[in-house]
């Protein structure tokens, strides 16, 4: 792969010609190491600069480590910084030599200049060598108590670094509680902000390990802390404000007056020049008012103007980030933005990623009053030079047509597209006309007249071709030469590469046959013959099936292949509302830009194969060490994963391995035997409160706050499926097991339930989301719990309760 070559005109030090350069540097450094002559610092600076520039372009200069350390005894602050940078970069691969630097760094930690103290402390924590952590604890402790805020600021982040090197050392030294104290008392807001970031990171990483972590996390969003931060918010830097605002979104106010107080306090943040602060504020407003429908609407109105300003200012990248969020809001509440549609008009020079979002927004906000303008605008784009955008705009016109009642004008426009005589325009328009006809069959007359004029030879794309063929079949009675077009298509059967098109061709020729038998008979024969001989399994099967059903009874065949159709009322939405809600919860993050919830791109198992790691392995890059790091990391992660699943197995082990084994065989044989074991799992120690109560808003808040403790897929017995005709049946059943339902919905085959349960004589709650699909007989269960440690026990309880459902 491309080696990191440097441009020749570079005024920084010339390229090292090889090893000789390095040894030369080494000699020179050695010469200056002990010298205190005047002017030495200048020469050292030049040398150091050379070393750093080599390091930047990826040349391994770690062999100079010893000499660099020797030269570091200097009072020149710039020299010191370069030296620290170097040491920080290479200490990890040279742990033994790193020990040499500890000495002078520790000395600098006691320097009288606070800048030097801060710098030394930062570098000390950046060494990242596990066996040197003992030297960190002392300086960090005194750094946190330093009289100068700069040193404290550095020390706080230092604690976080220490935590990542050795979590136990950090916890044992009781640093988190010191940070907590600092956070609530320090006069400097940057120190406070750093404490907040550090604590958040430490406690969320500790969550699985320690018992106090959830409590501490809870404490961060407790009323006193939140109010303390809110009251000082104006003192914080813009970045720290983002941090605090993000924290506030997790806070659950006790009543609506508190919500209004917070919003009043933060309203002026919407005028902040930093877009990130504005977005963070928007998130606070949206999250706080989720349960108050009409206020939530007002919030949309309020945040509209600032967001639109942000979109039109700043670099394209920044406005893209904001636009993605606006897009999300437009999709959630299109009617709020319907009068602002002009803001979503595309400019000629805008990058296509911006145009694409704008097209989607234009589609979403279209309503009775603005459809005409929007569609006119979209038609302009159809002639755009950027072909993907042109196609998107045609699809957008189609989508609007499918949303609206008054499609009169739009149909004309679409038909004009067909006459534009551009292949890609025709192709997309055909697909749309097909969808349109499925929804509004009454337009068939106008459409067919135009479609009939299109020569099938000009249509190449499979999707478009399939659409054209579908229309030929469906409306063969109205199209004079439909049988003959189909016939010519069948003649070229072998040249048709797409199986989808061939399938459509079979069906279309059948439909045509029922309407105009004499003209189509020969074509049908040819099509069936070609279909049966087809190598594609589906095409072959369909042809054979048609053939046999025709031989059996033609009128039955007609009823099967061409029954009278009902117009489609709604086309299926591609993204589930659950996923959309999840993305909304993660407002102001990458999820919005990727349009998928974070677990899909952060968690390893959802991400799919690590294509990237493999490719890295194949890269031939000068430094071998660098390649080792990522692969090791991946391996460690894998081990972690393995461990956690193994532990889960063990804890569940009490239910008995033998039973599981017998299940397996039943499943294999597909006997559909009751999945209920003869002896249900022994009821665990956990007792639930039969009269538990929880109001919906508390449930909602908790659901938002708590992490998912357990998530699993359960199989349901056939009896259970049979009994689950309506959600109510399951509700009564679960209630008898002290598991109460708070919300339910859905229709066969998909049901969704939210359950809750309470520990007996304790106020610890369990929340469950359960999605049942009766056709696959599976239940997706997600459990959240106040007390994480008992969630496994609860899960067992839930599972056994569910497994008894449907058994009289």
């Amino acid at each position: 792969m491309a080696p990191p070559a440097q441009s020749q005109r570079s005024p920084s030090p010339s390229q090292p010609s090889g090893k000789s350069e390095l040894s030369d540097l080494k000699l020179q450094l050695r010469k200056f190491a002990g010298s205190r002559a005047p002017g030495v610092d200048d020469s050292k600076r030049e040398l150091f600069k050379k070393v750093i520039s080599y390091m930047t372009i990826g040349i391994d200069v770690s062999s100079l480590f010893g000499e660099m350390v020797m030269c570091s005894a200097t009072s020149d602050i710039v020299l010191k910084k370069m030296c620290y940078l170097y040491v920080g970069n290479y200490a990890k691969v040279n742990p033994d030599l790193a020990l040499l630097t500890i000495n002078f760094l520790q000395r600098d930690c006691h320097d009288q200049d606070p800048m030097i103290r801060g710098l030394a402390l930062r570098s000390l924590c950046s060494l990242r060598v596990a066996n040197l952590v003992e030297y960190l604890v002392g300086p960090l402790g005194s750094g946190l108590k330093d009289s100068n805020s700069y040193v404290r600021m550095v020390a706080v982040i230092g604690v976080l670094k220490l935590y990542h090197i050795s979590a136990s050392t950090c916890i044992d030294a009781d640093f988190p509680s010191m940070l907590k104290h600092l956070m609530l008392n320090d006069s400097d807001t940057q120190v406070v902000a750093n404490c907040l970031s550090a604590l958040q990171e430490i406690w969320s990483a500790e969550a699985s390990r320690s018992e106090e972590a959830p409590r501490e996390r809870e404490a961060l969003i407790s009323k006193p802390v939140i109010y303390y931060l809110l009251n000082r918010i104006k003192e914080f830097s813009e970045w720290a404000q983002c941090l605090v605002l993000e924290l506030i979104t997790k806070y659950v106010p006790s009543d609506s007056s508190e919500i209004f107080d917070i919003m009043n306090l933060l309203e002026d943040r919407l005028q902040h020049a930093n877009g990130a602060v504005v977005l963070a504020t928007v998130k606070v407003f949206l999250q706080l008012t989720l349960s108050m429908t009409d206020v939530h609407q007002q919030v949309y109105e309020r945040i509209k103007a600032p967001l639109l300003t942000l979109v039109s200012s700043g670099s394209p990248e920044q406005s893209y980030a904001v636009l993605s969020h606006l897009h999300l809001l437009v999709m959630r509440a299109p009617y709020v933005f319907s009068s602002d549609y002009k803001h979503f008009y595309c400019q000629y020079n805008e990058p296509s990623y911006v145009k694409r979002l704008k097209l989607e927004m234009l589609t979403a906000v279209a309503n009775e009053s603005n459809t005409y303008e929007i569609v006119t605008e979209l038609c302009e784009y159809a002639a755009n030079v950027d072909i993907p955008i042109a196609r998107e705009s045609i699809r957008a016109v189609g989508k609007i047509a499918l949303q609206q009642y008054d499609v009169n004008a739009i149909v004309d426009r679409l038909l004009q597209f067909l006459e534009m005589d551009k292949d890609y325009v025709t192709a997309d328009a055909l697909v749309l006309v097909k969808d349109l006809l499925r929804k509004y069959p009454q337009w068939s007359h106008d459409c067919i007249a135009v479609v009939g004029n299109i020569s099938s030879k000009n249509v190449q794309e499979p999707k478009a071709k399939a659409a054209l063929i579908w229309m030929l079949g469906e409306y063969s009675q109205d199209m004079q030469d439909a049988p003959y077009i189909l016939e010519s298509l069948i003649e070229n059967w072998d040249e048709e590469h797409s199986a989808e098109v061939r399938l459509h061709l079979l069906t279309a020729v059948m439909k045509c046959f029922f309407k105009r038998p004499p003209e189509t008979q020969s074509a049908l024969g040819a099509a069936l013959a070609a279909g049966v001989a087809d190598f594609h399994q589906d095409v072959h099967d369909r042809a054979l099936f048609y053939h046999r059903i025709l031989r059996y009874n033609v009128s039955v065949a007609e009823r099967v292949v061409n029954p009278p159709k009902q117009a489609v009322s709604v086309f299926a939405d591609t993204q589930s509302s659950e996923i959309k809600d999840r993305i909304f919860e993660e407002f102001n993050s990458l999820s919005v830009l990727y349009q998928k919830p974070s677990y899909m791109f952060i968690d390893k198992e959802h991400r799919g194969p690590p294509e990237f790691a493999d490719e890295l392995g194949n890269l031939s890059i000068g430094e071998a060490e660098d390649n080792v790091v990522p692969s090791q990391r991946v391996e460690e992660n894998d081990k972690d994963l393995l461990l956690t699943t193994a532990e889960k197995e063990e804890t569940r082990g009490s239910t008995g391995h033998s039973q599981q084994a017998s299940f397996g065989i039943d499943d294999l044989l597909g006997l559909g035997m009751p999945a209920v074991p003869d002896a249900p799992p022994s009821p665990p120690q956990l007792k639930l409160n039969a009269k538990a109560a929880l109001d919906p808003s508390t449930f909602q808040q908790k659901w938002r706050q708590l992490p998912v403790a357990l998530s699993q897929e359960l199989s349901l017995s056939p009896q259970a499926i049979a009994a689950l005709t309506a959600p109510q049946a399951l509700l009564r059943h679960m209630q008898s097991h002290s598991i109460h339902c708070i919300a339910s919905g859905g229709q066969s085959p998909n049901f969704k339930f939210f359950f809750f349960a309470q520990k007996y004589k304790e106020s610890s709650n369990y929340l469950v989301e359960c999605i049942i699909n009766t056709s696959s007989a599976k239940a997706q269960v997600k459990i959240k719990a106040d007390d994480q440690s008992t969630s496994q026990a609860f899960s067992t309880l839930f599972e056994s309760a569910l497994s008894k459902f449907g058994i009289p």
Binding site: M1, S7, E246, S312, N588, R607
Partner: protein, 438 residues
């Protein structure tokens, strides 16, 4: 977690690393290679500024001939990351004194490393204010050579100032002559249909200030915006003066502006930072005065000839004039020959952008120059009959004119020593994206 960047890279257009700074261990060392392979060497470049490769997300931005790439491994706050890059670049510029490009980075790489250390720690943004950083990062670019002696007197209370209440201004500034410069810069965005109706029109404006004031002055700015005027007349309980008032759709302010006072009294009051800064930004969609009206007619005469007639009228005051007016009229790719007649300025055909370019250096108000051109085309067989016309684009600057009509009513400076100040106010309107479909 707002950013928690794992690494930041500066690359040139070929993908060579100019600066790399790893903040966290959670990304591998070869992120640059991933960026080069998956983004720079593919058509992906320019399709989307946020991309996921493996488990990491890359945010990148091109600034002159440099790519700045931020790598994160968590679900980061994108807006914050981009804003950070923009702010960091502004900071570097204020250190280099001018441009930010590959050469500037190469010449100042030690300084950049030093700054990267201060502005971000372990992936969290720290202090990015140039005012404060300049107190303790004292290397003045490469323009002044290093002194051989370390400065043995650390700047007094430098670190105290780091996060003081007025973080953007140093105490103890003294100027012989106290001056304030205020520029209202507006850009007009227009999208006009081929039939001459305005599809979309708005103005984004900013108020730029340059302050050379001693001490800790308090400034108060009054504009002729509607809300501010109404509030004032309410307070003084007398009817608002007649005259044009402007309705601002939305305003954002520099952090120095007291937002609470803006919300209660609707006046813009602030303690300004020293030197140059952007005081506020605003957006207006209603009542925009377009400086130019245009009437294009483009006729295609058969397959090989086109006729272009173009009238443009300046509708601002006759005493004012526009500068640097450029009108780009697109023509088909297969243009062979062009001939022009213009009543003002100069016109020529630029094959590289497939446009007729008409330039008028000085364009007085209330005039109406015209261009008529004949375009001959090479007839080709392959070309389909219809030619998709890109819009006509216009560039201009009109000094002393605001498309919104916004005016400064007063700018008061108050400082406890009571010195006199000289205030300078300028207005200028530029073309943002001024597009006319034809």
């Amino acid at each position: 977690m707002p950013v928690a960047a794992s690494a930041i890279y500066f690359l040139n257009l070929r993908g060579d690393v100019l600066i790399n700074r790893l903040y966290r261990d959670d990304v591998g060392g070869n992120m640059v290679d991933a960026f080069r392979m998956h983004i720079m060497q593919t058509k992906e470049l320019g399709t989307c500024p946020v991309r996921q490769i493996g488990g990491c997300s890359f945010f990148y931005m091109r600034i002159s001939n440099v790519y700045i790439v931020i790598v994160v491994s968590s679900n980061a706050n994108v807006a914050c990351a981009f804003k950070f890059v923009v702010e960091a670049v502004a900071l570097f510029k204020s250190y280099f004194g001018g441009s930010f490009d590959e050469d500037a980075i190469r010449n100042n790489f030690v300084l950049i490393y030093e700054l990267l250390d201060e502005i971000m720690d372990f992936g969290y943004p720290q202090n990015l204010s140039p005012e404060i950083l300049k107190l303790y990062i004292t290397q003045e670019g490469v323009r002044s050579p290093f002194s051989s002696k370390p400065s043995d007197k650390p700047v007094p209370n430098a670190t105290l100032q780091v996060t003081g209440a007025v973080g953007w201004r140093r105490e103890g500034l003294v100027y012989k002559k106290n001056e304030v410069f205020l520029d209202i810069v507006e850009s007009v965005n227009l999208l006009m249909s081929s039939k001459g109706s305005v599809l979309r029109c708005d103005v984004t404006g900013k108020i730029l200030m340059k302050c050379f004031l001693s001490g800790m002055p308090d400034l108060k700015l009054g504009l002729n915006d509607k809300i501010g005027l109404e509030k004032e007349s309410q307070i003084k309980s007398r009817p608002a003066k007649s005259g044009k008032t402007i309705e601002l759709d939305d305003v954002t302010f520099h952090q120095c502006v007291n937002l609470t006072r803006f919300n209660s009294e609707k006046t813009v009051s602030f303690v300004p930072p020293d030197g140059e800064f952007e005081l506020m930004k605003y957006r207006i969609t209603e009542g925009v005065n377009l400086p130019f009206r245009v009437l294009p007619t483009i006729k295609e005469l058969g397959r090989t000839r086109m006729e272009v007639n173009f009238k443009v009228k300046s509708v601002f005051g006759a005493k004012m004039f526009a500068l640097g007016v450029v009108i780009k009229i697109p023509v088909p790719k297969q243009t062979a020959k062009t001939s022009f007649q213009v009543t003002s300025g100069r016109a020529k055909y630029q094959a590289s952008i497939d446009c007729l370019v008409w330039k008028i250096r000085k364009f007085p108000g209330q005039t109406e120059p015209t261009l008529s051109a004949e375009v001959e085309l090479i007839s080709t067989m392959a070309e389909k009959k219809s030619w998709t016309r890109p819009p006509i684009q216009m560039e201009f600057q009109v000094p002393m004119f605001t498309a919104s009509g916004l005016r400064v009513r007063f700018l008061k400076v108050w400082e406890k020593s009571g010195y006199n100040t000289v205030e300078w106010v300028r207005y200028i309107t530029k073309a943002g994206s001024y597009e006319i479909r034809c």
